[in-house]
């Protein structure tokens, strides 16, 4: 109790430096949160794309379904393949009808039984590892009987590339801000310790324990870290909601793939990591700042 009171006295006494420390921690945590949200969502999109879009292989039109299926067997046997699905021309046509003539079935009637997609039996293929897609596509294109290979090569790997670049950039930026935060908290705590030199000297003589002597300064550091974490977390909560609504309104047609995950799947982990980061900085920085200066 006494230590907490003293800690707040410390913070108020050099309020400007304390605020500067809070601000840098905030900036650091805020950046962390932004990158965390972006990366988490990118990841989700990548998996989303990877699972929903596989490779589609079309075959020479003169091949019968049986021949196609035997080629399909061979493709399925490749070690890269996770799953394949045969889609006959009839299936493709009925899927198509369902999707594009929904509610206007009479339009489709014009085609009668004359399947306009005749000869477009295909195989949908999902790979175990999206990164191997390019080489596998090459293999398919050269395979016998294959007319066309459809795939969304770039989307996935592009996103993965962006994701990795973001990871590196964020790590560097957060690292720099972390260093500045540590420097500032260290200074704040050390100035407080200097200010209270007289007091801590008396405390030692009276028989205060090391932890009692250090507690005000450590609480000071932790408080700075905690406030510096809570501010950006709360801010981020609202910002995230705002961006989510904005994207839903303006990019409706992409909303399938490019919608943000709900708060509940991003914030719990992010909050915990941010708190550990922020409070950890505060705690360890003040602990090590004092190690040299205050001893029984």
């Amino acid at each position: 109790m006494y230590s907490i009171g003293q800690a707040f006295k410390n913070i108020c006494r050099n309020i400007r430096l304390s605020l500067a420390s809070v601000a840098t921690v905030s900036a650091c945590i805020f950046l962390f949160c932004i990158f965390f949200c972006v990366i988490a969502n990118l990841r989700a999109m990548i998996t989303n794309i990877e699972t929903r879009v596989g490779i589609t292989v079309f075959f020479d039109e003169n091949l019968s379904d049986e021949e196609i299926m035997s080629i399909g067997e061979r493709i399925s046997a490749q070690p890269e393949v996770k799953e394949t699905q045969f889609i006959s021309a009839d299936e493709a046509w009925s899927d198509f009808k369902k999707e594009y003539f929904e509610g206007k079935e009479e339009l489709a009637e014009g085609f009668a039984d004359d399947n306009p997609l005749k000869g477009s039996s295909s195989y949908a293929i999902w790979l175990k590892d999206a990164a191997r897609q390019d080489s596998f596509v090459k293999y398919l294109e050269n395979a016998e009987g294959v007319r066309q290979v459809n795939y969304t090569s770039q989307a996935g790997s592009l996103l993965t590339g962006i994701n990795n670049a973001l990871l590196i950039v964020s790590a560097i930026l957060i690292g720099i801000l972390l260093a500045v935060s540590i420097f500032l908290i260290r200074n704040t705590v050390m100035i407080s310790a200097e200010f209270r030199k007289n007091e801590t000297a008396i405390m030692r003589l009276i028989g205060a324990t090391n932890s009692m002597i250090r507690a005000p300064f450590i609480i000071e550091g932790v408080t700075i870290g905690l406030i510096g974490t809570l501010i950006p977390l709360v801010g981020m909560y609202f910002l995230y909601g705002y961006v989510m609504r904005y994207m839903n309104e303006h990019y409706t047609m992409l909303s399938d793939i490019f919608s943000l995950m709900p708060h509940s799947s991003v914030f719990p982990v992010m909050t915990v990591v941010a708190l550990i980061l922020g409070v950890g900085i505060g705690f360890f920085t003040s602990l090590f700042a004092l190690n040299r200066h205050l001893k029984v």
Binding site: Y2, N198, E199, A201, I202, M203, R204, L205, I206, G207, A208, T209, N210, M212, I213, V296
Partner: protein, 219 residues
């Protein structure tokens, strides 16, 4: 009980502050330590507080052998000692009450205990009415009384005073010595370093004289 067994202290600068000191101070004694400046008096107190370590010899206080004491026992050990200095060492931004209460707060005494024992300590040193004042509003003698109240509030068995009257006029110094004598009468061992031969003569107590690190008389 304070015991020095063949204690020497040589600072890293090469200064031999104490040389082969043997000394016993019994429980309940009142002892003056006198001697020329640089004789090693303050060094003795610092050794007792375990702020510094002897280069040689053994110090035993209340059955605590200081040399072997683990660091984490030091705070507990120091609570058996009260310290008073020439320059008072008060917290100037806090009231008299808070300065005395400080000694209890830092060892985690409860607010209730503090409320009871601070007024008692202030009464003991005769400062009950000034508990709200800041140190800056007090005379030197009064400030030293606050420091003494802070030193005795945790009921130490030994009170160590390093020139407690060095900054005070003669009349005030006498009053402070009287107070220390009162405290000693209630059972606390009191060790006072002083330069004032006159005061020592009037008090008629045991006097240890130390010069160049050696005890030259003990009467």
């Amino acid at each position: 009980m304070i015991e020095f067994f063949d204690v020497s202290k040589t600072y890293s600068t090469g200064t031999r502050a104490l040389q082969h000191v043997d000394l016993t101070i019994d429980d309940g004694e009142f002892v003056f330590i006198m001697g020329r400046s640089g004789g090693g008096k303050s060094t003795m107190l610092q050794l007792l507080l375990k702020e510094i370590e002897p280069s040689e010899g053994e110090i035993v206080v209340n059955d605590y052998t200081l040399r072997n004491m683990p660091r984490r026992f030091i705070p507990r050990y120091r609570r058996q000692l009260g310290m008073v200095f020439q320059d008072f060492r008060l917290l100037n931004d806090r009231s008299v009450f808070e300065n005395v209460a400080f000694a209890q707060r830092v060892i985690n005494k409860s607010a209730r205990e503090i409320k009871e024992s601070v007024p008692e300590a202030l009464r003991m040193v005769g400062l009950s009415s000034k508990y709200k004042s800041l140190p800056g509003q007090l005379s030197g003698g009064e400030r030293q009384r606050v420091a003494i109240a802070r030193a005795i509030i945790n009921k130490p068995s030994i009170l160590l005073c390093d020139e407690p009257t060095g900054n005070l006029d003669e009349k005030t110094a006498r009053e402070i010595m009287q107070l220390l004598d009162d405290i000693n009468r209630q059972g606390t061992t009191v060790v006072v370093i002083t330069h004032s031969a006159e005061l020592v003569r009037d008090m008629d107590k045991r006097v240890i004289t130390i010069d160049k690190g050696v005890i030259v008389s003990d009467v």
